[in-house]
Amino acid sequence: MTALHQLTLAEIHQGLAQKDFSSREITQHLLDRIRSLDKTYNCFITLDKKGALEAADAADSLLAKGSEGALLGVPFAHKDIFCTNGIRTSCGSKMLDNFVPPYDATVVAKLKNQGVVMLGKTNMDEFAMGSSNETSFYGAVKNPWDTNRVPGGSSGGSAAAIAARLTPAATGTDTGGSIRQPAALCGITGLKPTYGRVSRYGMIAFASSLDQGGPMARTAEDAAILLNAMAGYDNKDSTCTDIPVPDYTAELTQPLKGLRIGLPREYFDERLNEDMAQTVHCALAELEKLGATLIDVDLPNSALSVPAYYVIAPAEASSNLSRFDGVRYGYRCNDPKDLEDLYTRTRSEGFGDEVKRRILIGTYALSAGYYDAYYRKAQQIRRLINQDFVSAFEQVDIIAGPTSPSPAFKFGSKNNDPVSMYLEDIYTIAVNLAGLPGMSIPAGIVDKMPVGLQLVGNYFAEAKLLNVAHQYQTVTDWHKASPID
């Protein structure tokens, strides 16, 4: 029999239903694994052993009574950006090191209602600002494929935990690539839904107009099962869209015959290293074999996505992070001598360097005299980028390309050069600016490290993305490659 930690969500569900093992058994097994292995990987910031075992027992008694549900009793982890009632939610920051929210994020509540067993909260770049997990107050997460390399970020803890078989699946959030890029670098499957598909309530805001939560798992099928539970309208989030949620598992096995896949010329230029390009082309050839047609498309403004993003995201963040002032919760400096001192020292001591840097950029971009040149300009560029995708989707059903320009890099190689770090997200950022759904699936190995194929869909076409990804995963094994026994 396959070891419990190697099972996918779908397999765990089946095993529980068939009484092959109990929820408590698999939960305890994973908690034991985390205890022995996570000293190395540092995937978790907070574990909830007691809560997990209680939830597992509750699930077992429901299962015994014949309850079903694809997620009932299934172990799981939340990125530490989602507020969890009674469980510390740090957002990877010293600022919230002591923050125990008395409420659940909508996504957390929805998954809880499905009977998910939460093991703990995963490590992340501080306030989701980073592409390597090196900005976490709790130390960087190590890539299970090579512990000298980064896991990607900001959802690096979730991605690495899934790759290291510490949890079968987890939540992530994606503002500029934070689900897809770590998924690619750790060799797992990650989906960023359409902006507005998943509620942002209780998900600590980085850049409100870009942030979107989504599932991270080992397979497209698992991602579909999770998205079924996560997606949907929430009257607590004004930006959440009120359109019906389809069953994302229903169309997984649709044949790909006639599928038109767009390849943006801009994503295959000289910036993409040759091995990466070759791997991506191999993956595309598989899709062709499944009946898809490859068509070149243009996204002429894609080079502007990183510049526009580094105005919009920091500007929104500078405002979103103003609430961390040491008054109502979180870190507060010792013995403030006056109000100004309270604010300045609390924020200077509580935030890390990258967060402070982005707050400064955002504050500067919004300050008097610069608004039009920066923020307004960036929102105009955003429309151009959006229009590029709208035109492309007139010719093709999905767009495909690399998720990142290279495989996982070594620790310390980019964190002294923010600009090169920012360019790590060159293929993912435009998707956030346009609000489209995007996925990364394992598509090969370069330099002994996994690399991802990115699939981008039209608005609310998550089912189509999952269908393509699933079909690819039925004919390839990259998603089964494991860095660990």
């Binding site: 409100s208 405002s319 109502r328 608004y371």
Partner: protein, 482 residues
């Protein structure tokens, strides 16, 4: 040099919704500190705003009442600054597309009550801040966020007023409109209506505006008047002494009756406005605007005209009665029941107002209802009691001793109209007043009128005020003529 004052007002009006503008917390006044502050109001991480429909509807009603254009697609911006009573570190407000566009409010100025039009630049929706309590908490200030998120409209006028009197008149108009519309309780003592004044001076005849100072914290009509006076005097003195006015925010200190610079506010006035990404543009359908238009009641302006024409009231009486919708409603109910507008007006403006003012209670909570007052007036009209006795009955009614009829009955205050009984009392008085009778009969007819008062007084005294004064006069005149 002759100076001219230029004033523009920014009036903040708390809207009388049930819940806050972006959360489901109650906005009721006076709750225990921070018990009406939920996760959204406290700006807990990850929480998000959802806009209140009624806040928009109430703002739109105000716009319709001042003849303003309603913005069909309005949006929210964030105004970023740090302050302990501002939990998110920004105020959610409207800048580019406020819900209410340009409009106007007319005031009457001068002795002839000439109409002067004050232009409204716009009115926008925003959230109120919490409160900093400065009592000493171990050398710290205490923050109560119950008020944070209360919906406000900020009404921004053009600099069209030229005296504190005009500013007060304008503010009273605003107060009348919002209370008539029922979109605010307008209670200044609880901060439901607050005002900042932009004040500048310029030589008479000069077209260009002088540099203005913004005076904050004006929370009563009296303070607004005093603050403007003192600020105008300060600016004129400054300029005449060779100085220049600095554009700044000044705080009115009512205890010292002075305005002083708020430098702390000045330092951080780069508010970095940008569109709030957590809120989407609000689209208002024409059908909604039309439905709200139908809900607009008769406004103070129109009511003032009608009271003069329909009830033949003086401008003065009508304006007193229409200042508050509650008073106007009270008047109309009283009048309808007793069918005497003049008496109703007199009683409401006179005894009732005096009593309510003394007790400090609003007319809505008057112990004497409009119908009860009407019953009292009816008893004066049907001569059951005299006007003088009515005052005594009214006092008892105010003390909760019962209805007019019950009090008249239990105290035996019914007017004596029995001719025989009055005649007997008259005879008795005449018999006891030989000297006065002699004097009366010797007097010229026009003097007699005056002397008759003595006899009337004596008879009224004998009847304990209950004798019908008309009959007493008539019988006395007859008997003394003999």
């Amino acid at each position: 040099m002759q100076w001219e004052t230029v004033i523009g007002l920014e009036v903040h009006v708390q809207l009388s919704t049930q819940s806050k503008i972006f959360s489901g917390s109650s906005i009721a006044f006076g709750a225990e500190p921070n018990t009406q502050a939920n996760a959204v109001d406290l700006a807990m991480p990850g929480t998000l705003p959802v806009a209140n429909e009624q806040a928009f509807h109430k703002a739109i009603m105000f716009g319709l009442a001042i003849d303003a254009a309603i913005e069909k697609k309005s949006a929210f911006e964030r105004k970023n600054y740090f302050y302990p009573d501002l939990p998110k570190g920004y105020q959610t407000t409207q800048l580019e597309k406020p819900i209410v566009g340009p409009g106007h409010i007319d005031i009457e100025v001068g002795e002839n009550s000439t109409v002067k039009r004050i232009r409204i630049h716009h009115a926008h929706l925003e959230e109120d801040a919490g409160k900093s309590l400065h009592e000493d908490f171990h050398g710290m200030s205490g923050i109560d966020l119950n008020r944070a998120g209360t919906p406000l409209i900020e009404i921004v006028s053009e600099p069209d007023m030229s005296s504190s009197e005009e500013a007060i008149k304008f503010l009273k108009k605003v107060h009348g409109i919002v209370t008539y519309l029922g979109i605010s309780d307008g209670d200044m003592s609880q901060g439901s209506l607050r005002c900042d004044a932009n004040v500048s001076v310029r030589p008479v005849g000069e077209k260009k505006l002088g540099t203005r100072a913004e005076i904050k914290n004006l929370n009563s009509f009296r303070f607004i008047e005093k603050a403007i006076h003192i600020e105008v005097a300060r600016q004129i003195e400054l300029i005449e002494d060779g100085g220049t006015v600095v554009q700044e925010t000044r705080l009115y200190d009512s205890e010292k009756n002075e305005t002083r610079s708020m430098r702390s506010k000045e330092e951080a006035n780069d508010y970095r406005y940008f569109p709030c990404p957590d809120l989407l543009p609000v689209v208002i359908e024409d059908s909604v605007i039309e439905a709200l238009r139908k809900k607009i009641p008769e406004l103070p302006e129109a009511k003032l005209q009608r009271f003069q024409s329909e009830y033949a009231l003086s401008y003065y009486d009508a304006s007193l009665l229409t200042e508050l919708r509650s008073v106007a409603d009270y008047f109309e109910t009283t009048t309808k029941t007793c069918a005497d507008a003049k008496l109703s007006a007199n009683w409401i403006i006179g005894d009732l107002s005096a009593f309510l003012n003394k007790q400090g209670i609003p007319i809505e909570h008057s112990p004497v209802s409009a119908n009860q007052l009407a019953d009292l007036i009816t008893r004066i009209k049907d001569q059951t009691i005299s006007g003088k006795i009515a005052k005594q009955v009214f006092e008892a009614m105010c003390n909760g001793e019962g209805s007019a009829d019950e009090i008249i009955e239990s105290k035996g205050l019914k007017q004596l109209s029995d001719g025989g009984a009055i005649e007997a009392m008259v005879d008795d008085v005449i018999a006891k007043s030989a000297a006065q009778v002699e004097q009366y009969q010797a007097a010229e007819p026009d003097k007699q009128k005056k002397l008759l008062g003595y006899f009337v007084g004596q008879v009224m005294k004998a009847s304990k005020g209950k004798a019908n004064p008309g009959q007493v006069n008539k019988i006395l005149a007859e008997k003394l003529a003999k």
